[in-house]
């Protein structure tokens, strides 16, 4: 990830800010310029719920570049308590015990880094609630 893109995405990566369509109420995360439901262009900034439950998950054993040292780790689709679905890592959990329906809450974690000398990218992951 390039530094400029990381910087642009800080509101959603750091504070879980989403765009709520003023016309139809659709919540876009990450935020969009045009509502995919009603095509309106006006959004209000809202903060997502910080708890939810695991809708589904998978365990990554062959990781993409930059994540090799973290295997095995869980990636999950999480339905937040406000209904919005996000994809994120679930950490601090025993992979033998993780299951669909588990309650989770958001935590601020390191996501990746641009090599040993580059910028550290922070963002959200989920842990057992």
């Amino acid at each position: 990830m390039i530094t400029a893109r990381y910087w642009r995405e800080m509101p959603q990566r750091y504070r879980y800010e989403a765009g709520k369509c003023v016309k139809c109420g659709y919540v876009a995360f990450p935020p969009r310029l045009i509502c995919p439901v009603c095509q309106a262009r006006e959004f209000q900034t809202v903060t997502l719920a910080n708890t939810g439950k695991i809708e589904t998950f998978t365990v990554i054993r062959v990781a993409p570049s930059g994540f090799e040292d973290e295997v095995p780790y869980a990636m999950a689709v999480i339905k937040l308590d406000d209904g919005v679905q996000v994809t994120a890592q679930v950490v601090d959990v025993d992979l033998d015990e993780i299951k669909i329906g588990d309650r989770v809450r958001v935590e601020f974690r390191r996501i990746s880094q641009d090599g040993e000398a580059g910028v550290i990218f922070y963002g959200y992951k989920f842990v057992p609630a």
Partner: protein
């Protein structure tokens, strides 16, 4: 009235036991457990560092400052010796994550194990002087001890955050004192991965001299004596030093027990006495007085006398408590996993 408006501490879930470290280095675990009163310590996961722990502690502090808009924070200071960047502040990331930017003064502090209490000291001063309405002070570390060194049994991870202000105060600051000399008992030179220390020299002329001198000056300033305090908390490089210094000063084990986290948490460096204070605030009652003295090698101590207000009972359950986090489902690591998590294993350079 100036004092603490909100507080929060964060403890990582991973732990390693003294026996597991001693087994690798052929050391006698029992002598560390008896001699330093250490049983286990916290370990940061690979995706945790000072910044991530500070964000969580700050969010808990904001919960306990019920209703405080992060934009009202006029300053954020983070004290640590393990800032993830050598050049680039930790505080900017934390301020951005909690929504406190851009109208805020920000600085990172460093003073071995007392950088956190430094941040508390300065934020109290800024609020007292009416320079800012509220200010956030954080102390934390993911401290490193060289493999096989005595420090490896104690160096731990954790953070505590304090919001200082004039209204909604849950613990009023009554007195402070700082005591500083040039004492080279522990240091880390630039670009060195692990610190070095003076062995037994870190005891009498360093920790004990500074903590007792600061504490005695605080007694004198305030006209108090150990019996006037419900609780006391000191810097905890291990379990033994705070226990011994509290006895030297005339405190009882009962007075230090609640904030005495080192036997199962380890030494969280700049987070040490601030995290102990958070554990005390979790159970304190209105009117209780708390005596606190930090210690940072190099060397210096910051002393504080806090008086708990009526508001404490409203906030204690608004965020996870410190001892709850310490005791809730710890994940015990073997030494190999610990060495990987702490980046002690040298890997091949990527081409």
């Amino acid at each position: 009235m100036v004092g603490i408006v909100g507080y929060g501490a964060y403890v990582p879930r991973c732990r390693i036991r003294v026996e597991e470290i001693a087994k690798i280095w052929g050391a006698d675990a029992e002598s560390f457990k008896r001699g330093l009163l250490l049983r286990e310590k916290s370990v940061p996961a690979p995706d945790q560092d000072l910044i991530t722990m500070s964000v969580e502690a700050a969010r808990y502090a904001l919960k306990r400052a019920a209703g405080l808009d992060p934009k009202e924070l006029g300053a954020i200071y983070i004290g640590a010796e393990s800032h993830p960047y050598a050049v680039k502040p930790s505080g900017t990331v934390v301020a951005e994550a909690i929504g406190a930017t851009p109208d805020i003064h920000c600085a990172d502090y460093e003073f071995a194990c007392k950088a956190g209490s430094e941040a508390m000291f300065v934020t109290l001063g800024l609020v007292q002087a009416d320079y800012v309405k509220y200010a956030l002070a954080i102390g934390g570390d993911t401290s490193q001890g060289a493999p096989g060194d005595a420090l490896e049994y104690s160096t731990a991870a954790g953070a505590a955050a304090y919001i200082m202000g004039r209204d909604r105060v849950l613990a009023e600051i009554e007195h402070t004192h700082s005591y500083t000399t040039d004492t080279p008992d522990f240091w880390r030179r630039d670009l060195q991965h692990y610190p070095q220390h003076g062995g037994r020299f870190t005891g009498e002329p360093a920790y004990f001299k500074h903590v007792t001198a600061c504490a005695r000056a605080l007694f004198e300033k305030s006209g108090t004596k150990p019996g006037d305090f419900k609780y006391a908390v000191f810097h905890q490089p291990n379990g033994k030093f705070p226990q011994r210094v509290s006895r030297m000063l005339g405190f009882t084990q009962k007075q230090i027990d609640q904030g005495w986290l080192a036997p199962t948490l380890g030494n969280t460096y700049s987070g040490s006495s601030p995290m102990g204070l958070s554990a005390i605030l979790d159970v304190a009652r209105p009117g209780d007085r708390i005596f606190m003295v930090s210690y940072g090698s190099g060397a210096g101590s910051d002393g504080f006398i806090w008086k708990v207000t009526e508001r404490i009972v409203e906030v204690q359950n608004l965020a996870p408590q410190t001892r709850q986090q310490l005791e809730h489902k710890p994940r015990y690591l073997d030494y190999g996993t610990y060495a990987k998590f702490r980046r002690k294993i040298r890997k091949a350079e990527k081409v």
